[in-house]
């Protein structure tokens, strides 16, 4: 058994792209699949939670979560993600990433199940328990996310690394899709079994008692992909690989080692070169050379995640606002879940997932910079196309057009900055700072997610307080909220220029590996070629 596993790893590296690599993509990508399912399934059930636990007798509209509770339920997982990323990052350095990996997945399994349980029967205890376990679920996801990236780089084929990494990241789209499909299945099954009148006919009867099970099942099923991820990861052999070579971090490793050794006396040019490379993180020299790069990568990731997460979490509110989802009072609780899930799944199926795979196919051809710039550009265009003539879209006849254009913003988010903001920070910084700068950019993205989760909810409320959902202050309306998101995308577009512009690099140069790596690769090839030609002398 052990021998077979070891052989698999050997074949994984030597062979050209084969079935091994697709298996590795699925196994490595399960981490992202799980993360996406767990993070986004909550948006499918928040309306239902409002109906069940915030029902007000005699109200014209079904119960809704108050703004602070809704923000807490949606956003607490992202706070956990940030904390978990820091904690498990420290722990991984302490005792090796493989060992902590089981802990993150175990945490995710336990807290997914815990999210569906309650301590006590009152509404307060149910919502409080959900928030508590959502935080720790996010904590586990925060630990899993960088580990999935690490395992991804460890198992990637050396030749097609860019497409491989993008393919693994694209599993995130399938996670979102799976959440929606599962919610559709559950809600259709419950609707068939427990029919009920719409809210406006029978407020109390429109929420059947069994509706309580729907949100619990949807949330708890998140444990299943986490458990599958754990099972498949444990079946893979111990990584026997110089990850530094695969991730092109050899210079950093060598620099660290040279600090603890007596270094050979070197000729003057090398000494000068070494001195040029000796500046530290956040030193003046670093800021001069790479400060704008770091600002560019961190800000674009931050701005993207504001738009990306707010749109993913609050799609249903936009759909209701333009009438694609009927007013809540015309549906019963289960039907509302079904329609929300159907709408979100259609968006994921037709735009999010294809966007990811367009990136996989083209990222090594047209380059990261062009994809990111194009993505932000079209997101901006389509966002304004929705927002400025907003009244036009609210007419029943035009809502299909709205949905089409809205879908395109998701397509270009994923065939665009959502993928490239993950890839680029791992490539443009010197090896010594690569992992740190990637971590800083990633943390900025998480902050953007928190801003998106908590901010959009308030902005999108109707200007007229009487028309806003219960407990909400007057907002700026969906139209103006979309305009704000459009402005965010414009900022992302312009901050993208920070990445290549500081070095004066052209688009063509940015589309490939940076000069440093290209030089190393050529050098390596020449050396190899030279040695191949040489006969074996007697030593």
């Amino acid at each position: 058994m052990a021998r077979e596993q070891i052989q698999v790893l050997n074949a994984l590296d030597v062979a050209k792209t084969q079935w091994y690599h697709f298996t590795a993509i699925i196994i490595a990508g399960m981490g992202f699949f799980t993360d996406a399912y767990d993070l986004f399934c909550i948006s499918l059930v928040t309306k239902l939670l409002g109906r069940i636990y915030y029902h007000v007798d005699g109200a014209a509209k079904p119960g809704t979560l108050p703004p602070n509770v809704s923000a807490a339920v949606n956003g607490v997982a992202f706070c956990g993600t940030l904390s978990g990323q820091l904690f498990f990052g420290w722990l991984g350095d302490k005792m090796g990433r493989k060992k902590v990996y089981g802990m993150t997945l175990m945490l995710m399994v336990i807290c997914s199940i815990g999210s569906g349980l309650s301590f006590g029967h009152s509404a307060k205890s149910v919502i409080a328990t959900l928030c508590f376990f959502r935080f720790w679920l996010g904590f586990g996801i925060g630990g899993d996310y960088p580990l999935s990236a690490t395992i991804m780089s460890e198992y990637s084929n050396k030749k097609t690394r860019g497409a491989f990494i993008a393919a693994v990241f694209a599993m995130q789209g399938f996670g979102i899709l799976a959440g929606g499909i599962f919610a559709i299945i559950i809600s259709v099954a419950f609707k068939e079994r427990f029919d009920a009148p719409p809210y406006e006919l029978d407020p109390a009867g429109s929420t059947v008692a069994q509706a309580d099970y729907i949100w619990r099942i949807i949330v708890m099923v998140g444990a299943l992909p986490a458990a599958l991820t754990y099972y498949w990861r444990m079946k893979m052999p111990e990584t026997a690989r110089y990850t530094a070579l695969v991730a092109k971090n050899t210079k950093q490793a060598a620099a660290d080692m040279s600090k603890v050794l007596q270094v050979e006396i070197q000729a003057e040019p090398q000494k000068e070169e070494q001195k040029a490379n000796s500046y530290g993180l956040f030193s003046k020299e670093f800021l001069r050379r790479h400060g704008l790069h770091l600002l560019g990568t961190a800000s674009t990731w931050f701005l993207l995640d504001i738009a990306f997460y707010s749109q993913n979490l609050f799609q249903k509110d936009i759909f209701s606002a333009i009438g694609w989802i009927p007013p809540a009072k015309t549906m019963n609780a289960i039907e509302e879940v079904y329609r929300i899930a159907r709408a979100q799944t259609l968006i994921a199926l037709c735009s999010t997932v294809p966007g990811y795979w367009f990136t996989v196919a083209l990222i090594d051809k047209i380059g990261r910079f062009a994809i990111q710039l194009m993505g932000f550009f079209f997101m901006t265009v389509f966002m304004f196309a929705l927002a400025i003539p907003y009244d036009h879209w609210t007419h029943k006849d035009n809502r299909i057009g709205f949905v089409v254009i809205y879908s395109l913003t998701f397509f270009f988010a994923n065939f665009g900055p959502n993928a490239t903001t993950f890839v680029v920070p791992a490539e443009i910084f010197p090896a010594r700072f690569r992992s740190t700068c990637h971590g800083i950019s990633s943390a900025s993205g998480k902050l953007g997610a928190i801003v998106g989760a908590f901010g959009f909810l308030y902005l999108a409320q109707n200007k007229d307080k009487s028309k806003a959902d219960a407990g909400y202050p007057a907002g700026i309306g969906v139209k103006n909220a979309l305009i704000v998101l459009g402005v965010v995308n414009i900022l992302g577009f312009f901050f993208t220029f920070l990445v290549p512009e500081a070095n004066g690099k052209s688009l063509e140069e940015m589309s490939g590996e940076n000069d440093e790596d290209v030089g190393t690769q050529e050098e390596s090839e020449q050396s190899h070629s030279h040695n191949n030609n040489r006969t074996v002398p007697y030593v």
Binding site: R51, Y54, A123, A254, L261
Partner: protein, 443 residues
Amino acid sequence: MLSFSSLTFLFKICRRIQFSDLRRAPFVALQLEKRSELAIWVSNFRTLSMGNDAGSPQGPVTCGSWIRRPENLNLVVLGRSRRGSSCPSLLEIFSFDPKTTSLSTSPLTTYVLEAEEGDPVAITVHPSGDDFVCALSNGSCKLFELYGRETNMKLLAKELAPLQGIGPQKCISFSVDGSKFAAGGMDGHLRIMEWPSMRVILDEPRAHNSVQDMDFSLDSEFLASTSTDGSARIWKTEDGVPLNTLSRNSDEKIELCRFSKDGTKPFLFCSVQKGDTSVTAVYDISTWNKIGHKRLIRKSASVMSISNDGKYLSLGSKDGDICVVEVKKMQIYHYSKRLHLGTNIASLEFCPGERVVLTTSVEWGALVTKLTVPKDWKEWQIYLVLLGLFLASAVAFYIFFENSDSFWNFPMGKDQPARPRFKPVLKDPQSYDDQNIWGPVDM
């Protein structure tokens, strides 16, 4: 430096183990159909009954290795050479007790080598832990398979046709992934083969003057080999092509080599003799340039080893010292002076799962030494920290829960029920039919 208590502790451990070693009685499988075996057994019995034998009743230990078995069980295989006519060459398997840091007092199983097979020279264990190869002084290599559980373990010997009569092999080694096998001969002949098919990848009679040491890289892509004349070469294991010769000054002799086992540190560690001084040099395996060097062990190094997780590097000297170095900082964390008093250390190896090393020498036999290095985080300790954080946040959350009525903003006050009160409604058939968007059920 070692504290006095650590030194005392180590001394006690060494004395205890040595005593056990001396008392260890030979165990020879009695096979009635072989009269010569019976004669040997009788001869040994007679020797022991005298009680005043001047020398050890067993042959000296020439080589040893750890065997990693399932369920975190670690065994040790020792090779003993012949002593006189009454003590044959042996291979013995011992179990290791991590609680007492000692080997079992009697072997789990023993294999007696025939006189014409010669003595064991080197042992390498396959990463799977199921078998190992032993190089013999008669110029052949034999494969030994381990069968059974700890209580009824057996060794089964097999011939390896491509390795018969190839001359004495100084070093033999399996690659980290277990898919390749390499043998370096005292005549400088280097062989790399696929395992277990034994297909020849490299068969180079003039690789070296005489092979001194060799090691596979963590990813099994390279083989480094050193020669007694001080040169070192790098081979590509995929096709056996020589890749590089390590750079050195004219006064330097590269003697020992070990690849890093930490995936984030792509280095090759070499023991280099510069005149009378022995230093450890570090090469970057992406460029094969030397990064630097450091003096670690005081005498000339005779053996080098690296731990399975790549954290520690160990050197054994020709005077019997060993030192253990943390790789990240290249600092000495453990130094045992004259562990094998005044004797060349023949083999040195880290235990797969514990901070313990096995060392062997001809004079002192096999010793296991617990290392005085910082304890690793145990997995249960991490779970404890995590559980502590979890419970602390649960307490904080509960306090918040009890004092946060205004936050949850329930419209019906503190005792908001979990769901709307369900009112039973009798539906007339027509009303039910109107609400069923799927049409009549009877269809």
